[in-house]
């Protein structure tokens, strides 16, 4: 494997890790309105992700940094090209981040407002990223100098909107399985019940996504074997999650929705490879892992540094999940054992 390929893989892994981890805390954020019935339960939900959401978000920052370092042309084209979507995305992350921290710092009359911020701040970023990645694999108007001049329908079209909604639904379902795993009391029961309905919605969403991927993108031509297999994997894991939820095997259900995210995001990255941005003007203007990348020396330096640091990072993150593994009830003082 060349270093360019390795870095494409690492970027994909960082995004998959981000969607798996931040996916469930986006889902928990959405559940504060869709599932929780009162303040007490919202507290309980927020507590389940309290120690983690910040580090989960760093996966995205690291993915952004990795793209900048390994594929500067990709970084420049994507971030300037998706300018306004990113503005919206950043605003949502701002309100979400401070809301977690501030929701109990002022008088409780403000708490409800902050909780709405958490809700909005969890839906909007998931939707925007869904739109971003689906429109990206569909192809964007990128010219010969790698600049993207996109119009409204390039960002928002049937495929990308379905992609955005699918991402929201995936995160919500993943958040619900996480809640099933991390809470006790009535909300755990209700999460199970809601899940059985949401799995159907997700399956429909995945099928719509698969059909539109076939219609709108060249992913099936680019990877005639992998694309259908990965999409099939996403559907199977969702079905299995349904099964495990019915059997009340919450750990397995969560593992399966993790698989759904893994397969869905992998579909996009596998289909994209070796391209990183697809030009809808001409395939000559595609950005690829070769023409968008940094020099071999920089890739070498980055490889050594990353492969040295990554085990430590993964180690202490897993450790932190292990420390806070206990279920959160609705009666104990929140954030305290």
């Amino acid at each position: 494997m060349s270093l360019n390929e390795l870095w494409f893989l690492l970027v994909a892994v960082l995004f998959i890790g981000f969607f798996i981890l931040e996916g469930f805390d986006f889902g928990v954020g959405m559940s504060t309105r869709f599932l929780a019935r009162n303040q007490r339960e919202r507290d309980q939900l927020v507590t389940t992700i309290g120690p983690f959401w910040d580090a989960n978000e760093v996966w995205l920052i690291t993915a952004g940094g990795a793209i900048f370092a390994a594929f500067p042309e990709w970084y420049a084209t994507m971030f300037s090209g998706y300018y306004l979507p990113f503005v919206l995305f950043l605003l949502a992350l701002i309100v979400r981040g401070v809301a977690f921290e501030f929701r109990h710092k002022v008088d409780t009359k403000w708490t409800s407002l902050w909780d709405w911020m958490i809700f909005i701040g969890s839906i909007v970023p998931a939707f925007v990223l869904g739109v971003l990645f689906t429109s990206l694999v569909r192809g964007m108007p990128i010219d010969a100098s790698a600049n993207m001049y996109a119009g409204f329908t390039d960002y928002f079209n049937l495929y990308s909107i379905v992609g955005g909604i699918a991402m929201v639904v995936i995160c919500f379902v993943h958040g619900l399985t996480y809640i099933g795993l991390r809470t006790e009391g009535p909300i755990r029961e209700r999460a199970q019940k809601m899940l059985t309905k949401m799995y159907i919605v997700l399956l429909v969403g995945l099928l719509a996504f698969a059909v539109l991927t076939y219609v709108s993108t060249d992913l099936f031509e680019a990877r005639p074997l992998a694309t259908p297999l990965l999409l099939f994997g996403a559907v199977v894991t969702t079905a299995l999650a349904y099964f495990f939820t019915g059997k009340r095997m919450e750990g397995w259900a969560f593992t399966m929705t993790t698989g759904t995210i893994l397969f869905t995001i992998s579909t996009l990255f596998v289909g994209l490879f070796p391209r990183v941005m697809i030009s809808s003007i001409s395939s000559d203007f595609n950005l690829t892992i070769m023409n968008a990348s940094s020099s071999p020396y920089t890739l070498k330096v980055m490889t050594i540094v990353s492969l040295t640091l990554l085990p430590f990072v993964l180690g202490y993150q897993i450790w932190s999940y292990y420390i806070f593994r206990k279920r959160v009830s609705d009666s104990e003082p929140v954030g305290h054992e």
Partner: protein
Amino acid sequence: MEILDLARFQYAATTIYHFFFVPLSIGLVFLVAIMETLYFFKKKEIYLDMAKFWGNIFLISFAVGVVTGIIQEFQFGMNWSEYSRFVGDVFGVPLAIEALLAFFMESTFIGVWMFGRNRLPKWVHLMSIWLVSIGTMLSALWILAANSFMQEPVGIAVVDGKATLVDIWAFLTNPQLLVEFPHTIFGAFATGAFVVGGISAYKLMKKKDIELFKRSFTIATVLGMVAGLGIAFTGHWQAQHLVSSQPMKIAASEGLWEDSGDPASWSLIADIDEENKTNNWSVEIPYLLSLLSYNSFNGSVEGMNTLQERYTELYGEGDYIPPVAPVYWSFRVMTFGGGIMILLSMVGLFLLKRKKIMENTWYLKLMLGAISLPFIANTAGWIMTEIGRQPWTVMGLFTTAQSVSPNVTATDLWISIIAFLGAYTVLAIVLITLIVKQVKKGPYKDVEDKPDVDLFNKEAFGQ
């Protein structure tokens, strides 16, 4: 306004705002780590109360620092895509390493520290806050490595019109980084120290929780003194380094149009006329500029007009003189701010030694006002550093005008400026309200239902 101006305005606004919280967080978490350490070894409740009280203010600052920091990482690509294409091979490296090495560490262990007090062995919990503190400093190291490359591109070559990394070791031992990093870190310590010192002074004036705030005040004043001296020495080294590495920045910061005499005198205040490239008048202190530049009573310093000629030969036709007045005045604001902080720290230590701190309310009042000093000085320092480098983004290699995204429109920029500045304004109001409430409420000993609940966690996330 033109797109370039809008993009620069946005960058300046978001970065200055972000940098209120960065040094505050670095300074506060260092102080909290010291308090946790005292608690660990001395086992006195009061240190725990201190750590929780200041820890809470740290968390507020950190939260805003994190969310405004994400903008920092994305806006290079959003507003400065041509810059990103030019420097990505070099500049992306420290940014990626910063995320991998520092951000993960800070964000994970801050969660461990906030929620783990009763779940972990005490020494592990203590370690977690130190790892957060070290994480914030590592973060500063990598982002300043990126900035130092913009000031003084070393360890790189321009290949096919792009900056390319050729020697990572030279890049990391950039002489600019070696002076810029300690200077910034001492500035951050001073920020934490003056915020803790100022709030403690207020509480001492109000005669509330005297024991707790006296101890806080003492620790803060000692750190303020150390940091103040650190700032002065590293600042001096940095200025001396700039005389050779960025002479234009130094000349602008002195309002020096023509070469100075030998020995060179230092301008205290001046009326700068940028149009006619001269000063109408200037109050000068003899010998001082030679002394500052070379640690000697002689030696002359090159003026902007000489440098302009040399740069024209080197880089072709163009205006290589940065906006002089902002550089000149921000340098003075920064150094005077630093000087006052050192003086205040000295007086504070003297009063503490004499045990006369409580009687001298005038001093306590001054310290409350002095909370603003480090923020003003930090901001002025960065204004000098960044405006003083103009017209370049990467000194001598790439200009700011070349850097801006060609596909981003003025409308895009206006939307993002209004969105971000609107959010920042709301955030600032909320933040100040929160901190004032936090301070007025006082430490947790005053809360009535203290006994069996870990109030710190309750405050941070709980019911």
